[in-house]
Structure formats: structure tokens, C-alpha cells
């Protein structure tokens, strides 16, 4: 017989709970989806990073991953489709003391938002971009996008896709990001560590997080469920830190090169702006206040 005392002991609270808007749960993500896993890594990274979370701002666009901003208990902005990066740019430049993280999906950041992300990387704006790549548009029911591997079945490629896909790390490397990494939702420890690294690294940082979409991608392509995808990530991922980003393109169920590909230093936007203006204007230069609200 079970003693009453054995039942009343409350289970230990999940350490990430205080950082989530638990009054908004349950979330919208499907069973087997990787977005929640990536969010768990993110919150654990925040805890370990010892960052001042009152100064953290999370910005999302539109889509399943775009819902992240709505679930985190920080200053958080759910913006328009594709425009999280320029919103984050304005936020960061007007108050450089903020730590600004863009959390969004592959379609949002690289199709409709593609122009913005390459320019933010070029400028080296001090924002951190976490891109959950589930290989299609999930929120709208599973349409193909710029990361969909050729031959994949989606609702808008019913006979299999034929468009070549973007290699996101290569694109971000070429555009000038100072940190570029790729992990999958199987690699929770490595992903968490990478997130801590970008929180501490100045400049435009980018992490691609491969995530299952069992409802729309795996199911339509007869690739099993979320667990099968985890097994695939485990078996076919190869860690190659420093791999040339031109060599890390993905294909449908082929080998996945993961790791930290780029980690370099370049002056960030505001540093360049101040230096140029100070050099040209001399005594006439007036430093922007720490926050433009002052």
C-alpha cells in the first residue's frame, strides 16, 4: 500500500519553467516537433550564460518557429513575416545594452526575409539569429521553401520538388556572419553550448537548428515519425568543426555535417559607425547616448 506521504511530495520544477509564459501553455507545436527541444536548449543556455535576462529581447517572425517569442517570458516581439531581423536591428541600434536574439524559421528568415538577413550579416549588427530549419512551411500546412531538399513531396510540390535548396551556413558565411554553426535537435548539449557561445560573442551570429516536422515533412515523404528522424540525425550526422561551409549542403536523408563552421572577429556595426564619425567629425562628433530613450 502506498503511503500518503509518498504522494504529496511535489516533483521538482523543470528549471526552464520560470522563463516560459506557462499561462500560454499548451503550445501549438505537434508531437515530435523539434522547435520545443530547441527552445529548451535556448532557455538552458540563457540560464548557464548568466546574462541579465531583463535586458534580453527575443524577436520572431511568422511561422511555427515564429511562435517562440510568444512563449518566452522575456521582452518579446512577434513581428511580421520575414521582418524579424530588421526589427531586431532597430531595437539593437537604439539600445545597444539589449541582448537581441532573433528566433525564427527557415522560410521566414531565408525566403521572405532573405534580403534582410544577408544585409544584417554584412553590416555585422550585433544580433543573434537562431534559425529552426524544418525544411518547409509548416504553419501553413507544409509548402516547399528555399531549404526544401529536391525531390521532397510538399503540398506545393506534389510530384516532388526540383528547385535547388539554399545551404544556409554557406550563405551566412559568405554574407559575413562572425559565427556560423549547425546542430540538430538530437545534439542538445552541443546546441546549448553553441547558444551560450553566441550570447557571449559580439556581432552577427547564426545557428541553424535542423528539426523534424513529423506532421508535414516526414509523414508526406514517408520518413517515419519524430523518433525516426532523431535516429537519422544520430546515424547520419558528422561533427566537423571548421568544415568549409561550401561542403555542408544538405540533401534528402543524406549525411549531415554539423559543428561550428565559422568563428571569427570583425568590428560590429555601431563600432564601425562610431569610429568613422569620430574620425571624420572630430570634436563635432557626439556619441549617441547608451540608449536613445535618454
Amino acid at each position: 500500500m502506498i503511503e500518503t506521504e509518498d504522494l504529496v511530495e511535489a516533483p521538482p520544477q523543470n528549471p526552464v519553467e520560470p522563463y516560459l509564459r506557462t499561462d500560454r501553455l499548451p503550445h501549438i507545436w505537434c508531437p515530435g516537433c523539434g522547435i520545443g527541444t530547441s527552445l529548451n536548449c535556448f532557455v538552458r543556455a540563457l540560464i548557464e550564460s548568466k546574462e541579465d535576462l531583463d535586458r534580453l529581447a527575443v524577436v520572431s517572425g511568422i511561422g511555427c518557429s515564429g511562435r517562440v517569442a510568444g512563449y518566452v517570458a522575456f521582452d518579446s516581439f512577434h513581428t511580421t513575416h520575414g521582418r524579424a531581423v530588421p526589427f531586431a536591428t532597430g531595437l539593437k541600434l537604439a539600445n545597444p545594452a539589449l541582448k537581441v536574439v532573433v528566433y525564427s524559421g527557415d522560410g521566414d528568415l531565408f525566403a521572405i526575409g532573405g534580403n534582410h538577413i544577408i544585409h544584417a550579416a554584412r553590416r555585422n549588427v550585433d544580433i543573434k539569429v537562431i534559425c529552426v530549419n524544418n525544411f518547409l512551411y509548416a504553419m501553413t500546412g507544409g509548402q516547399s521553401g528555399p531549404t526544401t531538399p529536391p525531390s521532397s513531396i510538399t503540398t506545393t510540390s506534389p510530384y516532388g520538388g526540383f528547385e535547388p535548396a539554399f545551404n544556409l551556413p554557406h550563405l551566412m558565411d559568405a554574407a559575413g556572419a562572425v559565427y556560423v554553426a549547425r546542430w540538430t535537435t538530437f545534439h542538445v548539449r552541443q546546441l546549448t553550448r553553441a547558444m551560450i557561445e553566441i550570447l557571449h560573442k559580439p556581432g552577427f551570429c547564426f545557428i541553424e537548428v535542423l528539426s523534424p516536422c513529423p506532421t508535414l515533412y516526414e509523414r508526406r515523404n514517408k520518413l517515419g515519425d519524430g523518433l525516426d528522424t532523431m535516429k537519422y540525425y544520430k546515424e547520419k550526422s558528422k561533427i566537423r568543426h571548421g568544415a568549409p561551409t561550401s561542403e555542408v549542403a544538405l540533401d534528402k536523408r543524406g549525411e549531415i555535417i554539423v559543428g561550428k563552421f565559422v568563428d571569427r572577429n570583425r568590428p560590429e556595426y555601431l563600432e564601425l559607425m562610431r569610429a568613422q564619425h569620430r574620425a571624420q567629425l572630430g570634436d563635432r562628433f557626439v556619441e549617441a547616448p547608451a540608449c536613445l530613450c535618454d
Partner: protein, 385 residues
């Protein structure tokens, strides 16, 4: 509160409308601008780019107008006063973020130095063809504030006012210039900072525990916070409740959209700025705005010389449309004559507000130049018969 003197170029200047608009923004406290080059508006941000490093602030030239129009919203939520500047084609791209600014009640100013359209149209020549776009350009149902200056002096004065109204009502304000007003050089008097009234942001005094980002005050406008101050707030373009949380149902939609519209509608009286002259015993009243009002003045003078009793109503506020004023004038005049550099936009509003109490005559012009005074005069004569 009074203007920050660092942004106020006090003195008497010989300045064009675009530059005066920039000075107005600086006087109003704008310390962040994002832009994308487009004729005939570029001089505004060119001046901002030159001036802001000597004042303390940020200008960024973005990759397109979509980016410029949302970068300013980010800057506002960081605590800055911010604006962007464009012309027709860019204005079309910015419509997405007019909607986001309305929905998230983000105070900002969007300047449109109008040129001929549709599409690329007449890049270097004037028009007033975006007046309805300023009202209805973003999707969904909303109200907006739009002002229209007719001189470089007003480009200064009304830009300050546009920022103040944006803060007071927590809404984007459209500043509807035109190519001629933008490029016309005249005397501009910039008063001392202590004579410039600046409306402060409506920051809450509530603690993070008590504060709800979209809980309206008595005037239906909620109090604001900024990022990084411990409130850990959420804003979204999705229909939301007072906490700012997405809530997708007809009740939440009705409550939110009605309030967003009503906060502007109920203030329509105090928002109705205009210049009125000689309307008391007028058989005809010319209703105009922007550069067209200055051509209309000549037509009014010519008509009066011919013995026609003509009044003048120059609209400064275009949106919300001053229905009450038109209604009142319609009761005591025979006809309205409405010249504008489009083929009939604001004239429809005049006709609607007059509701048959007075006749309404358009003086359409497709743009590219201004009217000839005689074109307006001949319609005044027709209306007076």
C-alpha cells in the same frame, strides 16, 4: 515637456521642405531614422545622416522600405523616437508595417513626399495621389492620422506636431508632403527649444506585476514600456488581449479593432487642424491641401476680383477627415470646389461629409505639375452660377 535643445536648430533659415521636415523631426526628439533612397524624399534622410552624428543618435540606410519601416518600430520599442521617409513606391512597401504599428500601437512618423504614380510613375514630379493609400493602404480595418503641409515652414512645424500626435495616440502618423513642397525653398523660422512643446512617451508608472501592455486608459490609449526595463512584455501583430497575448476569436477581434479605431475617431474634433478664411458669406468654398492650396489661393483672389464670394478651407489634417467642419460649412454655402493633384480622392470625402447639403465640384489633375489657377477659377465660376 520642452524640446531637447540639442536637436533644435534655432534661427531663421532659407531652407527647403525636405530639410525643414528633418529639422522638425530632430526638434521633436527623433534620434533614430531608417530610410531607403527615393526621389523626391531623399533629402530628408540625407540631412538626418549628416546631422545626427553631431547630436547623438543613429541613422541607418536599410536594404529596402520594408526593412526601414520595421527598423523604426524596433527602435521605438527600445525607447527612441523614430521615423522613416519615402515616396510612392516605397510607401507601398511600407504598408505592411503601417499595419503592424497600428496593431501594436507603436508611435512613429512616416513621411511621404508624394510623386506621380501608379508604379514608378513620375519620380521627380509632384502629385497628391497617395491620400487614400495613407488612409486605407494597409490591410484590415483601422484609423490613421495624416497631416499635409503647404510650405517649408509647415514642414517643420507640422513634423513636430506629427511626432506629438503619434505619442499621444500611440499610432503611426502619415506626413503627406508633395514634391513641390519638399523641394520649395522658403524662409523657415525655428524657435528656441523652450518654445517647442514635445509630447513625452506615455510610459507607465505601474510595476511589472500590475502592468498590462494593452490595457487602455480613459482615452482608450494604453500606457507604454520599453525593452530592457524588467517588464518582460510581449507584443504581437496577432489579435491580442490586454496582456498582449494572441487571442484568435471574434470577441477579441471586435474588442481590439473597435478600440483601435475609436481612440482616433473620438479625438477627430481635436485633431481637425485647418486654415479657414472668408467662409462666412461664401457662395463657394475652395477646399484644398498641400501645394494645391497655394495655387487655389491665386484662383480665389482672381474669383474675388470678379465679385464672386469665395471662401477658403485649407485642410491640414487629412485623416481623420474633418467631417464636422465640412458639414457645418455645407449648411451655409452653395458649393465646394476641390482641386487636388489626383483624379478625385479627397473630393469624395468632401462630398460624403456634405451629404447633399452643398454641391461638390472636383478639379482633377493627374499630377506632374500643379494646376493653373485658371483651371480652378473656371470651376469656381461654374460652381457660383
Amino acid at each position: 515637456m520642452r524640446a531637447d535643445p540639442r536637436g533644435v536648430l534655432t534661427g531663421v533659415h532659407f531652407m527647403d521642405g525636405d530639410h525643414a521636415c528633418c529639422e522638425g523631426a530632430l526638434a521633436a526628439g527623433a534620434r533614430f531614422a531608417a530610410g531607403y533612397p527615393i526621389t523626391p524624399s531623399t533629402e530628408v534622410v540625407e540631412r538626418f545622416a549628416a546631422r545626427i552624428p553631431t547630436i547623438g543618435g543613429v541613422f541607418i540606410q536599410m536594404e529596402d522600405e520594408l526593412a526601414a519601416s520595421i527598423a523604426i518600430l524596433g527602435a521605438v520599442w527600445a525607447g527612441a523616437k523614430a521615423f522613416t521617409v519615402t515616396s510612392g513606391p516605397g510607401f507601398s512597401l511600407m504598408m505592411e508595417h503601417v499595419g503592424l504599428a497600428v496593431m501594436t500601437e507603436t508611435p512613429c512618423v512616416i513621411v511621404n513626399v508624394q510623386r506621380g504614380g501608379p508604379s514608378t510613375g513620375l519620380p521627380t514630379l509632384p502629385a497628391q495621389g497617395d491620400m487614400m493609400q495613407a488612409r486605407w493602404g494597409s490591410h484590415g480595418d483601422y484609423e490613421i492620422i495624416a497631416l499635409s503641409p503647404n510650405s517649408p515652414q509647415e514642414c517643420f512645424d507640422l513634423t513636430v506636431r506629427a511626432f506629438n500626435l503619434a505619442e499621444k495616440y500611440r499610432t503611426p502618423v502619415m506626413f503627406m508632403m508633395d514634391e513641390v513642397v519638399g523641394h520649395m525653398t522658403e524662409k523657415v523660422v525655428i524657435p528656441p527649444a523652450e518654445e517647442i512643446e514635445v509630447y513625452p512617451r506615455r510610459y507607465t508608472r505601474k510595476s511589472p506585476g500590475e502592468y498590462k501592455p494593452f490595457e487602455p486608459c480613459e482615452d482608450l490609449v494604453p500606457e507604454m514600456v520599453r525593452a530592457g526595463t524588467g517588464y518582460r512584455f510581449h507584443i504581437t501583430g496577432v489579435t491580442h488581449d490586454e496582456r498582449g497575448y494572441p487571442l484568435i476569436n471574434p470577441e477579441a477581434q471586435d474588442k481590439l479593432v473597435r478600440r483601435l479605431k475609436e481612440k482616433i475617431r473620438r479625438a477627430a474634433g481635436e485633431l481637425a487642424f485647418y486654415e479657414e478664411e472668408g467662409t462666412d458669406a461664401a457662395d463657394v468654398i475652395v477646399v484644398s491641401y498641400g501645394i494645391t492650396s497655394r495655387v487655389a489661393q491665386r484662383a480665389i483672389d482672381l474669383a474675388r476680383a470678379k465679385g464672386i464670394r469665395v471662401g477658403k478651407l485649407r485642410l491640414i489634417t487629412i485623416w481623420p477627415f474633418p467631417d464636422e467642419k465640412i458639414r457645418e460649412l455645407a449648411r451655409r454655402t452653395g458649393a465646394f470646389v476641390v482641386p487636388e493633384l489626383n483624379l478625385g480622392q479627397i473630393v469624395r470625402e468632401v462630398e460624403r461629409a456634405a451629404a447633399g447639403a452643398a454641391r461638390t465640384y472636383a478639379v482633377p489633375h493627374a499630377g506632374g505639375t500643379v494646376h493653373r489657377p485658371e483651371q480652378i477659377l473656371s470651376v469656381i465660376e461654374e460652381a457660383a452660377r
